[in-house]
């Protein structure tokens, strides 16, 4: 991959003290990079270390080895440039909707006076469609509304990178769809670089430019990077009509069902620094970082008749 590396995870590991006095590694020597403005989704089974990677990226957790470089600089701790949308929304229950967003705003711009902070917070509350609920407390909100407050809070500090840990997993399909649309629109409009963990394959296909597939832990590895072949202006409703949709979906599901488990035995020479980049359904364009035959991947589309 010779793209500009806005985010570069370089050989990170996370080890915990094991049961028998030794250590167990959640993952070892993990390499991953993202370009500016890219939207990436991470998919992998529960416990493989996705949240750990995200927390390390956020600076909330430190790796046992390796480093994370953002915009040419190794990160040290958390930063207002990297906003996190937490899985459990993590709103402060003693603050109102406006109070929660304003807390983030006043943390970023400490010199701003109250009125300015509130006005700025209000724009982002309006943006996520919570106008009229700004004086409610989190306990008075539905799950979807809470998640929106979390999104508004993350966006309000105009971060360079959005880190999202299964932000929509607790929501019903309809709310999830609306919020996906909103997040996608906002990220496209603001040129946000986004890193999202999800268990929902369709969500990843709709949102992501790149999908990272992680094998099962312990000792998880980044097995493949799947490039999303769907056009940038895809809509959520006609997603499944795209000729490459099923090929892409099947590829990911195949991975989750079988290869995520057997990957370590099938590919013992997997090089974590040269993770294969998979293009679904583009004939002839089989990509591997080196000329290695084993890593060449090409998945034919399921209904080739429709391929233009």
């Amino acid at each position: 991959m010779v793209t500009d590396k806005f985010i570069s995870i370089e050989g990170i590991a996370k080890r915990y003290p094991g049961a028998g006095g030794g250590t167990t590694a959640v993952f070892e020597n993990l390499w991953l990079s993202m370009a500016r403005g890219e939207f990436a989704c991470v998919i992998g089974h529960s416990g493989c270390g996705k949240t750990t990677v995200l927390n390390i990226l956020a600076g909330l957790d430190t790796p046992s080895a390796g480093a994370v470089v953002v915009d040419g600089q190794a990160i040290e701790g958390t930063s207002l440039d990297r906003a996190v949308i937490f899985q459990s929304h993590a709103l402060l229950p003693w603050r109102t909707v406006l109070g929660n967003v304003a807390y983030a705003v006043s943390s970023k711009w400490r010199k701003w006076e109250r009125a300015r902070v509130r006005a700025h917070a209000q724009t982002f509350i309006d943006l996520v469609g919570l106008t009229g609920s700004e004086h409610k407390h989190p306990s008075e909100l539905s799950g979807g509304m809470k998640q929106r407050v979390g999104i508004a809070r993350a966006l309000s500090i105009t971060p360079k990178i959005m880190l999202m840990d299964e932000p929509f997993s607790a929501l019903d399909a309809l709310t999830r769809g609306t919020l996906q649309d909103e997040v996608r629109r906002i990220c496209l409009e603001t040129g946000q670089t986004a890193f999202m963990i999800t268990h929902d394959v369709d969500e990843a296909i709709y949102l992501a430019d790149k999908i990272f597939l992680m094998t099962n832990g312990p000792g998880a590895v980044l097995a493949e990077v799947v490039e999303n072949p769907l056009p940038k202006d895809r809509g959520r409703s006609d997603l499944h009509r795209h000729p490459l949709y099923y090929a892409l979906r099947n590829h990911i599901i195949d991975f989750l069902v079988s290869r995520s488990r057997s990957f370590a035995t099938e590919k013992p020479d997997h090089d974590p620094r040269k993770v294969p980049l998979v293009h679904v359904g583009k004939p002839g364009l089989t990509i591997a970082s080196s000329g290695d035959e084993q890593r060449q991947t090409r998945i034919p589309p399921t209904n080739p008749g429709l391929t233009g």
């Binding site: 909330l60 701790g77 402060l92 003693w94 407390h137």
Partner: protein, 279 residues
């Protein structure tokens, strides 16, 4: 439904009170009928019955005396004869002073213990040993070192109210949800601001619960402490009236101790409700 339940509970309370007062009255009234009693029965009943009037005051005596006290709560006729208002005032002032000092020590210290696992571990053995000591056991030591009975009583109040607050503050601070701390961290909020904007509001309900337990204990202890140190206060009043064999005044004092204790508890309960947030 709930309002009818409350109404019925209220009626039952009143009925129970009336029954209690009635039984009390019957048990202690002057038995004018003794004379008309069968002498043999009077013999059987023994001294109490034959003496006529019980040594125990009845509710009417207590009521009359209480009315007298309530009309002049703040008179002061020298060291052994002060109004009940003054005596209660002394006790409340002592509890208030000792309690406030305890708040000033316990909450910052509890914060430090809650935030630092090192301090928590290092101080734990001391706290474990000091906590179960009856506050009154400190009294001789306090009297010896401080040489002032009133300040010694305040010290005893301080010692007994410090532990629940300290432990609750440390616990509340240590168990603030990690995700709230993480929110502050991702926003690059400094330690001081984090302590006031995240940890304090999150731990406030637990801290206030500790403060409520403390005020209850302090009010329990002040009576005993004042009995020991003497001079002023509601505890001293009880002891003094016992020496005067005025059971009526002792009963009145008991009633007032209960009422003031309830009031203090209600005040803290209100504060607790104010800082409690629904999740």
């Amino acid at each position: 439904m709930t309002s009818s339940l409350r109404l019925r509970a209220g009626l039952l309370s009143i009925a129970l009170l009336a029954a209690f007062l009635g039984i009390w009255h019957l048990a202690t009234r002057s038995t004018a009928t003794v004379a008309a009693m069968n002498p043999e029965y009077a013999k059987l009943m023994g001294l109490t019955a034959t003496q006529g009037k019980s040594a125990m005051p009845g509710p009417l005596d207590v009521g009359a005396k209480l009315w007298e006290h309530l009309r002049r709560p703040f008179y002061d006729n020298g060291p052994n004869d002060k109004g009940l208002g003054i005596q209660l005032g002394y006790s409340i002032a002592r509890v208030g002073t000792g309690y406030l000092l305890a708040v000033l020590v316990a909450i910052p210290l509890g914060f430090l213990i809650g935030m630092s696992p090192l301090l928590s571990k290092a101080l734990d053995p001391f706290i474990q040993v000091l906590k179960p000591i009856s506050p009154l056991a400190w009294m001789p030591l306090a009297l010896y070192t401080i040489k002032d009975s009133s300040i010694s009583a305040i010290f005893v109040i301080f010692i007994c109210s410090v532990w629940p607050m300290l432990l609750n503050t440390a616990f509340g601070v240590a168990s603030v949800r990690k995700e709230w701390i993480n929110v502050a961290r991702t926003l690059e909020v400094g330690t001081i601001r984090r302590a006031f904007t995240v940890i304090l509001p999150a731990a406030a309900p637990t801290i206030l619960t500790g403060m409520r337990i403390s005020i209850g204990i302090a009010w329990l202890v002040i009576v005993a402490a004042e009995m020991l140190v003497g001079g002023t206060g509601i505890g001293y009043f009880v002891w003094n009236e016992w020496n005067n064999l005025s059971i009526t005044n002792v009963i009145i004092a008991i009633l007032l101790i209960g009422l003031v204790g309830m009031l203090l508890d209600q005040i803290l309960a209100r504060f607790t409700r104010m800082v409690t947030f629904p999740e």
